[in-house]
């Protein structure tokens, strides 16, 4: 436990006093306190008072048999403080924290959906992840959920037509964006209430690609789970794998060799480069600037080819594993990779010049979809979206993992918080990533690239965070001492960012919706899991 974490713990125990329950030694390395239901709001307020940039990173539910444990993972001072509370399964009710932190909205609804908890006072209760016809009293992540014969238990839902519900609202018309829409590559639904060309209200509905991966992870061994979590998202697959493996390694008490840490860093940064380039090209397409899209995606091939020569795969790397990485980087490949990176670096100068000078590009993105710093903090956004709004937050700096503590790099942040700055953050980060890669390739230590680990993981739990291209990726893994995990919770960056879309779209022009939406770099496969 670092000194900062010690300080947070002292503050909490001083302020809470008697209300803090003595937990049977938590195996989490980080701050973790247990309180009675209801007191969690006080604990959260204490943390918020101490640090204005504190926010909810995730809310995890775990089925403990008679009770359900709800964990509020609060991101504060660059680390995670966990507030635990238990509610009885018979009467699963708990007070909401959305009035303190609006950003907890989706996190609470997800737990409500999957564990059957009622968050009292939540402004928009209702289905979020599961479909409308999912059986009412079946909560998939509870251990006693009977999911056999699910087809016949489905609720009979016929009226899904939202346009009928809004008929009494006069001049407002409802424009439904999605689940199928050319601006959305993946399926989610956003109902926009429109007054002329101005968007008045946005209602998001996610869950269209929910695959139950958290449940599926409980049925597989740890090693199989590595392959499963990689398939949550094709673009940032290495981040998912790294995050999961680091969490499992933390429970096991093993550590990957130094060379493996460097190789992980390399594959993570390659992931970041290709993800950011994909997004920038896609943004060009959304605002009708096709040459930008075509150029960007052609240059992205350099990153893809490098990924292939390193891991053997273009997209899903299958590179990171528990205890290290699965392949070594051959010395003779390094010059070719560095030549590719040098080309990329030259191209980035060109793109930066383009983004800064093209008038039509700026007309469509500058001052569009502004997310103020205060709102960014309230909505608990992560990654480039937060950094575009001057929230200095980067897991690579806050809590270095892999080899990031040994590699110098800058944290990029802008102050304006509009679509343009969000694109610029990504462009500058590609530059930083190229420098990180060059440094890592130059200083690649020798030695083994993996250690063998046992299949059975001792009982325990761990939190791990990785800075994915889209922002902070959060994993919570709980082990029960077998080869199968008890609970795997993943909170993906888009899940944290999607609320901010509602915020920036409301009051804006309908033609700006695709442009501002794409600047958040949404990934719905991640969001729904």
């Amino acid at each position: 436990m670092t000194s900062v974490e010690q300080e947070i713990l002292t503050t909490l125990s001083k302020e809470l006093g008697e209300k803090m329950l003595q937990t049977p030694l938590s195996q989490l390395e980080k701050v973790s306190v247990r309180v009675n239901a209801g007191i969690h709001r006080d604990a959260l307020k204490i943390l918020l008072d101490k640090d204005e940039s504190a926010g909810v990173s995730a809310i995890t539910g775990v089925d403990l048999g008679e009770t359900i444990e709800v964990m509020y993972h609060v991101r504060t001072h660059g680390t995670i403080a966990t507030i635990r509370t238990r509610v009885p399964k018979k009467d699963p009710r708990i007070k909401t924290i959305t009035d303190i932190l609006p950003g907890a909205n989706f996190h609470e609804r997800e737990v409500a959906d999957l564990f059957g908890l009622t968050f009292e006072g939540h402004p928009y209760p209702g289905r979020l992840i599961l479909s409308e016809d999912w059986p009412k009293n079946l909560f998939p992540l509870r251990k006693d959920a009977e999911i056999a014969d699910i087809e016949n238990k489905k609720e009979n839902i016929t009226a899904l037509d939202e346009s009928k519900q809004s008929s009494d609202e006069g001049v407002l018309t409802t424009v439904i964006m999605g689940p199928q829409h050319p601006a959305l590559i993946e399926p989610e639904k956003f109902s926009l209430k429109v007054d002329g060309e101005i968007v008045k209200e946005v209602k998001p509905r996610i869950g269209y690609v929910h695959r139950g991966i958290e449940k599926a992870a409980e049925k597989r061994t740890y090693l199989q789970d590595v392959y499963l979590v990689e398939r949550i998202c094709g673009i940032c697959n290495a981040c998912h794998a790294t995050c999961f493996c680091q969490a499992v390694e933390a429970i096991m008490g093993t550590e990957a060799p130094v060379r493996a840490k460097y190789l992980r860093t390399i594959v993570l940064e390659l992931n970041r480069i290709q993800s950011h380039m994909l997004l920038l090209g896609h943004a060009g397409l959304e605002i009708g600037y096709e040459p930008f899209f075509q150029y960007m995606w052609r240059d992205r091939e350099i990153a893809m080819d490098t990924m292939e020569s390193l891991t053997g795969n273009r997209v899903i790397a299958s590179f990171v594993t528990i205890g290290g990485v699965r392949r070594d980087l051959k010395e003779e490949r390094i010059p070719k990779i560095k030549a590719g990176l040098a080309t990329l670096k030259r191209r980035m100068v060109f793109y930066k010049n383009l983004l800064e000078s093209d008038p039509t590009l700026k007309m469509r993105t500058k001052g569009v979809g502004v997310l103020e710093r205060q709102d960014a903090l309230k909505l608990c956004v992560v990654g480039p979206v937060a950094r575009g709004s001057d929230v200095k937050m980067d897991v690579r700096k806050d809590e270095p993992y892999a080899a990031y503590d040994k590699i110098p790099f800058k944290m990029i942040s802008y102050t304006e918080g509009d679509s343009w700055t969000r694109l610029m953050v990504r462009l500058d980060e590609i530059n930083e990533s190229i420098d990180i890669l060059n440094f890592a390739l130059d200083n690649l230590p020798t030695g083994p690239y993996r250690v063998r680990v046992p299949r059975i993981v001792p009982a325990g739990e761990a939190i791990n965070r990785v800075e994915a291209p889209r922002g902070e990726l959060f994993y919570y893994v709980k082990s029960n001492g077998t080869a199968y995990p008890e609970r795997v919770k993943m909170r993906t960056p888009t899940f944290a960012n999607i609320l901010s879309f509602v915020h920036i779209a409301e009051g804006g022009n309908i033609a700006d919706v695709p442009a501002s939406f794409v600047s958040l770099d949404p990934c719905f496969s991640c969001t729904d899991r």
């Binding site: 424009v175 829409h181 050319p182 601006a183 060309e197 060009g284 397409l285 959304e286 605002i287 009708g288 600037y289 096709e290 040459p291 930008f292 075509q294 150029y295 052609r298 093209d358 039509t360 590009l361 007309m363 469509r364 022009n509 309908i510 033609a511 700006d512 919706v513 695709p514």
Partner: protein, 330 residues
Amino acid sequence: MSLDLTLVFRALVFPGFSFIVLLTFLCDWIERKIEARMQNRMGPTYTGPAGILQPFADFVKLLAKEDMVPRNTRSVVFKLTPVLSFSMFVFAMFFLPIDGSNVILNSSFQGDLIFVLALVSVANFFLFLSGWSSSNPYSEIGATRVLTQFLGYDIPLSILAFGPALLASGLSISTIAASQRIPFALLLPWAFILFIIALQAELEKDPFDVPHAETEIVGGYETEYSGRRLAFLKLAKDVQIVLGAVLVVELFLAGPYGPVFLGIPEFWYTLWFILKVLLVVVITEYLTCIFARLRIDQVLVVNWRVLMPLSILSLATAAGVAFWLNLGVG
């Protein structure tokens, strides 16, 4: 009898219908090639030498596809508008001198410039109707955008078209084309540039392609069309692009006229005509590639605050130039 045969040949084969459609395919191919090269791609390569037959192949493919009419459409309007707008654009082409004279000989009259501009307006209105009759939210938004944009840009376009008319002191297109010993693009370069910009909006090309911004409103007014109706709708759009280019050629680049060498002058006139049209197509396509799409409100701002005053100013200066030229001649 022989005169009638000439008329039929001129109307149907050269320089009438078939020639215009073939020219349209050629321009479409050039456009696609340029756009592809600008975007670091190959463009069509497969059908014919360097893919030159690709637009034709696409047209034939669409003709063979299933033709569906959604149940809620205003059926008659929905079915007729693609063909009507296509024929309107082709008809407008008949009044433009292609091989030195109009398609139908001696059909040129004083004021056919206004007539052609009016035909273009009507044809555009048919495009609007095609979207409006589709009963699809995307089509309807696309259709209203066509109309909004068209209403805005037709006025500056017409005003700018009168500049060359003033210089030629005549409202007949063949007079304007024939009177350009020096192309008007050199005499009125500002009007030429403004005309190209207004045309860019008229033809719904970037940065003004809001009526079919695919990421916002899918296919715009053509969303519900399929099969041969879509084929004709797309062909109508392509003929419109050629028509716009031809207008530029006739008004600013001395029409089909240019140096005549050996042989029949019609051959040289046609050659100059095609080359000039391709030049204009290249310019407009180049502009399309280097800009991002504006928003509809930004488009209107550009129109009413920038293009409108400038076009009036341009007409005034054109009048000044015309006066000065007449003095020189007189």
